[in-house]
């Protein structure tokens, strides 16, 4: 319990001091298409950003917990961003309402801080579901093994630690993230949950 409190304190310290946010919002007028798969869901998500401060989108998903298919209307808001010469940190609020009704929804926070060499991110998400509500949490820390130039293939090696309240176990596993132009591929392998896959294209 003490260790858990310690880790949560670390996350909150990240969020409330210098480190936070992520990139679920694009540049003004930008669209993003994503594919995501892990032990809880498989989904395709499209969002549009009328401003760099928020995005609206639709996510079609196969819910592996409830074993059903439905869609989310999603809203993500950039709550805080700090740009410096060598870093950027972000803190986002995210939410979604299901096509199955208002009582099936989620809210969450998502944060990251990165330089060209180092990445730290976290996510907290509470899902209200028909059968049983649950919470997802993760921390991600990573390093870029080399600094690529603009247009090059960019690589990140990360460690992701995640937990959901259904299994109530923390799992840690390596993740490889690759960027090239407007494409991003993220792959993680956990011996318990098998593959995490995240593909993204911005346009």
């Amino acid at each position: 319990m003490g260790i858990r409190v310690c880790i949560l304190s670390l996350i909150l310290t990240f969020a409330l001091t210098t480190m936070s946010g992520a990139r679920p919002v694009s540049y003004t007028g930008g669209s993003t298409m994503m594919y995501f798969s892990d032990n809880l869901k498989e989904s395709v998500y499209y969002h549009y950003s009328p401003s760099y401060k928020y995005s609206l989108g639709l996510e079609w998903l196969k819910d592996k917990v409830q074993n059903e298919n439905y869609a989310y209307l999603r809203y993500t808001h950039l709550m805080n961003r700090k740009n410096t010469k060598n870093s950027q940190r972000n803190l986002y609020f995210q939410s979604g309402i299901s096509s199955k009704g208002l009582n099936k929804n989620f809210i969450g926070m998502h944060g990251d801080w990165e330089t060209r060499r180092v990445f730290a991110g976290f996510g907290l998400k509470h899902v209200q579901a028909d059968v049983k509500d649950y919470t997802e949490e993760y921390i991600q820390l990573g390093l870029a093994p080399y600094l690529g130039d603009y247009g090059d293939l960019h690589t990140w090696i990360l460690i992701k630690t995640k937990r959901n309240s259904l299994t109530n176990e923390w799992n840690s596993y390596p993740v490889l993230k690759l960027f090239k132009g407007n494409f991003m591929v993220e792959l993680g392998y956990d011996e318990n949950d098998e593959w995490d896959a995240h593909l993204m294209y911005r346009f």
Binding site: L147, Y150, S172
Partner: protein, 137 residues
């Protein structure tokens, strides 16, 4: 759980070591590889090789050299390229992630408005902190 905590502690240490090594290397090579330009008495840095490649083939043009904060990844700079490519008189664009610079070439007929540039950078979620104009005869 111990593995998680050790990983949490170890990663930033490795990252910091990598950053320090990079900085030392960066400082050592700085005067050889970086172009020090003077505009109106102000000095700023550009990657020499990158700059030479960018200006090759350009004539009767002007280059806006933008210093941008928060441009820490290739992915984050994509929107900047997309936005400025729509400008009238646009010729070329390049991004120098190492120095946080964006180079945009326009033909000489264009009046480059700093406040307009600032808005466009902000619409991508970054901040413009300086802009210099270089003329290419």
């Amino acid at each position: 759980m111990k593995k998680i905590i050790i990983s949490l502690l170890l990663l930033p240490s490795l990252a910091l070591a990598g950053e320090l090594e990079h900085e030392m290397h960066h400082n050592h090579d700085e005067h050889e590889n970086h172009l020090h330009e003077m505009v109106d008495g102000q000095e700023f840095q550009l990657d020499k090789e990158k700059f030479n490649k960018f200006v090759s083939g350009l004539s009767n043009a002007q280059i806006a050299v933008l210093s941008v904060q928060g441009m820490v990844c290739d992915f984050c700079a994509r929107g900047i390229e997309k936005t400025f490519k729509k400008d009238v008189g646009y010729l070329n664009i390049d991004v120098d992630l190492t120095h946080g610079k964006v180079l945009i070439a326009y033909d000489m007929s264009v009046l480059i408005d700093k406040s307009d540039v600032e808005k466009k950078i902000l619409s991508n979620g970054q901040n413009l902190v300086d802009m210099q104009i270089l003329s290419i005869p």
